[in-house]
Every structure is written in structure tokens, then in C-alpha cells.
């Protein structure tokens, strides 16, 4: 049976999450996004042209190591917690349908000058509205200029 009780979203959870993330480190992460006008040439699809990724800042965020490398050759994994307000602002600015689209378009995410690959995205919600995004990251091997 549907829950028909009245719930008025006040944005409290979003503000609390943003304040906690700011107090807990307040880092800035930069999504590596493809340019709005993509490279449709042959050279752009066979690795000849530089992709020209744009850096899209998301803040406040908290970055932490999620798991130590247990096996030889296994890269360490990290977690990034991002304020849903910051994500929503970029989704609106880029006219995207959802935050999931934003993350799926990204080629990676840079934190403190280091590039990470996005492995999974999960969302925490209150009253049906996201207040926090948790990204599971893996360190990229290449030393890209960021």
C-alpha cells in the first residue's frame, strides 16, 4: 500500500551533508568531461587527436582510501563523497537528465592533481531526493597532465 502521508522536502538533508563534507575536508574533485562539441573526425576515434577533456569542479567533497592493495599488482581503491547540491548544480548547467548521466559521461575524476577512474556510483537519499553521492574510484596508471 502506498505511503500517502504528507512529507514536505525542506532540503535539510542536503544542507547537513554539504556542511559535514565541508567540515570533514572540503576537498574539490574535478570530473574529466568530454568537450560539449565532440570530435567527430576519424582521428578523434582512433586515438590520434587529444580528447580535450574539460575539468568540471565538484565541491565540497571528502576523499578517502577505501581498501588497501591486498594482491600484487592490485591498485588501491578510494572513495569520494560528494555533495548532491554540487552535483545538481552541474547537472543543471550542462542540461543533463540525471547525475548518473553526468558520471557516466566522465572519463575520470581528478583529486589533488591525480587521476582516478570511476568504478561505481551510489546515492544516499532522503525523502526521495539525493543528498550525497559516493563514488568508488581506482587510481589511474597514466600520469596525465591535470
Amino acid at each position: 500500500m502506498a505511503d500517502l502521508s504528507t512529507q514536505n522536502p525542506t532540503g535539510l538533508a542536503q544542507r547537513v551533508a554539504t556542511a559535514l563534507l565541508r567540515a570533514g575536508g572540503g576537498a574539490t574533485a574535478c570530473l574529466q568531461m568530454p568537450p560539449l562539441a565532440g570530435d567527430a573526425s576519424n582521428a578523434g576515434q582512433i586515438g590520434l587527436d587529444a580528447p580535450g577533456f574539460l575539468s568540471l569542479p565538484l565541491a565540497p567533497a571528502v576523499f578517502r582510501k577505501a581498501r588497501v592493495a591486498m594482491q600484487d599488482g592490485q591498485l588501491p581503491k578510494y572513495e569520494l563523497l560528494i555533495s548532491a547540491d554540487a552535483v545538481a548544480a552541474q547537472v543543471t548547467q550542462l542540461n543533463l537528465s540525471s547525475a548518473q548521466t553526468l558520471f557516466s559521461m566522465a572519463a575520470g575524476i581528478a583529486v589533488a592533481g591525480k587521476l582516478f577512474l570511476i568504478e561505481a556510483v551510489s546515492t544516499s537519499e532522503s525523502q526521495g531526493q539525493a543528498y550525497l553521492y559516493r563514488l568508488q574510484l581506482q587510481e589511474a596508471c597514466g600520469e596525465w597532465p591535470i
Binding site: 565532440g38 573526425s41 582521428a43 576515434q45 590520434l48 572519463a107
Partner: protein, 162 residues
């Protein structure tokens, strides 16, 4: 060798645009035929559904001929979860459709080798040719069906070619 790889990909991409113009994907802000070279795109945690992904794996060279003949193995991977309209219950049919498209994309089994590092692309002196496809088994992962096809691509290494 890179020219042969580039020629193979762009030949298949051009044929796909004719064989099934509806098979398109949007990748890096560009809407294009649903085929990509995996090592020329950002790493992806999940494969793009309903698109062909080319990976270059094996490499052998025959040095006993006047020009070096290289044999490169190309693995073409594709996955589908069916269509939304049929709630994914048509994923077997969708995979079969992609199997048939692969057969059509690969025939004829040759193309003029091109140098795409120059703009406009320049035709080279030899051809790139390839074997008939070897289809691997369909692999089921939850609601996703995948298959890998192996093709051996042959090309002569021309004078001064990288």
C-alpha cells in the same frame, strides 16, 4: 600495423552505417555508429550495450616474405540487454541481430589500406584482409547477453610505415 588497425575499424564503422543506420551511440559528445576501438576510448567499468567494441590482442609476424606480413587478432565484443519495449525479454533476438550484423560488416574480407594519420587520409599500396569470424559462445551475466568474435587481420608492412 597501426594503419591496418585504423583501416579495419573505419571500414567496419562505414559498413555499419549502411547495414544498420539505427545502431548509433553517443560517446564523448558525438553521436556515431555503434562501434568503437576500446583502447582509443576512456576505460569503462561496464561495456556499452548494443555496440561493438574492438580490442587488439594477438600479434604475429611472418619475416620470410619480401615484405613483413603481420597477423593481428581482433576481438569484437558486444553485449545487449534487449529493448526497453520488451522489458529485455528479446535479448536473445537482439544478440542474434548483432551476430548477423557482424557477418555483414566483415564481408568482403578486405579493404584498401589507408593512412588516417594524414588529413585527408591517403590510400596506401597494399590491402588489409581478414579471416572469417570465429564466434565465441554467448555469455549470460544476469540480464545481459554478450559474445566475443575473433577475426585475424593480415597486412603487409610497407616501406617506411610505422
Amino acid at each position: 600495423m597501426q594503419n591496418a588497425k585504423d583501416t579495419f575499424y573505419i571500414t567496419l564503422r562505414s559498413r555499419l552505417a549502411t547495414v544498420n543506420p539505427a545502431r548509433v551511440m553517443t560517446l564523448r559528445s558525438v553521436s556515431r555508429p555503434g562501434i568503437l576501438v576500446a583502447d582509443a576510448e576512456p576505460p569503462m567499468p561496464q561495456p556499452i550495450l548494443d555496440a561493438f567494441s574492438l580490442s587488439w590482442t594477438g600479434l604475429e609476424a611472418d619475416l620470410q616474405l619480401p615484405a613483413i606480413l603481420v597477423q593481428m587478432t581482433c576481438e569484437i565484443q558486444y553485449s545487449t540487454a534487449g529493448t526497453v519495449l520488451n522489458a529485455g525479454l528479446d535479448r536473445g533476438r537482439t544478440l542474434e541481430e548483432m551476430d548477423y550484423e557482424i557477418l555483414k560488416l566483415l564481408y568482403p574480407y578486405s579493404a584498401q589500406k589507408m593512412n588516417y594519420a594524414q588529413n585527408p587520409a591517403v590510400a596506401m599500396d597494399t590491402m588489409v584482409f581478414w579471416s572469417e569470424p570465429q564466434f565465441g559462445p554467448a555469455v549470460t551475466l544476469r540480464d545481459r547477453l554478450s559474445r566475443s568474435v575473433r577475426v585475424t587481420v593480415f597486412a603487409f608492412q610497407e616501406q617506411g610505415e610505422l
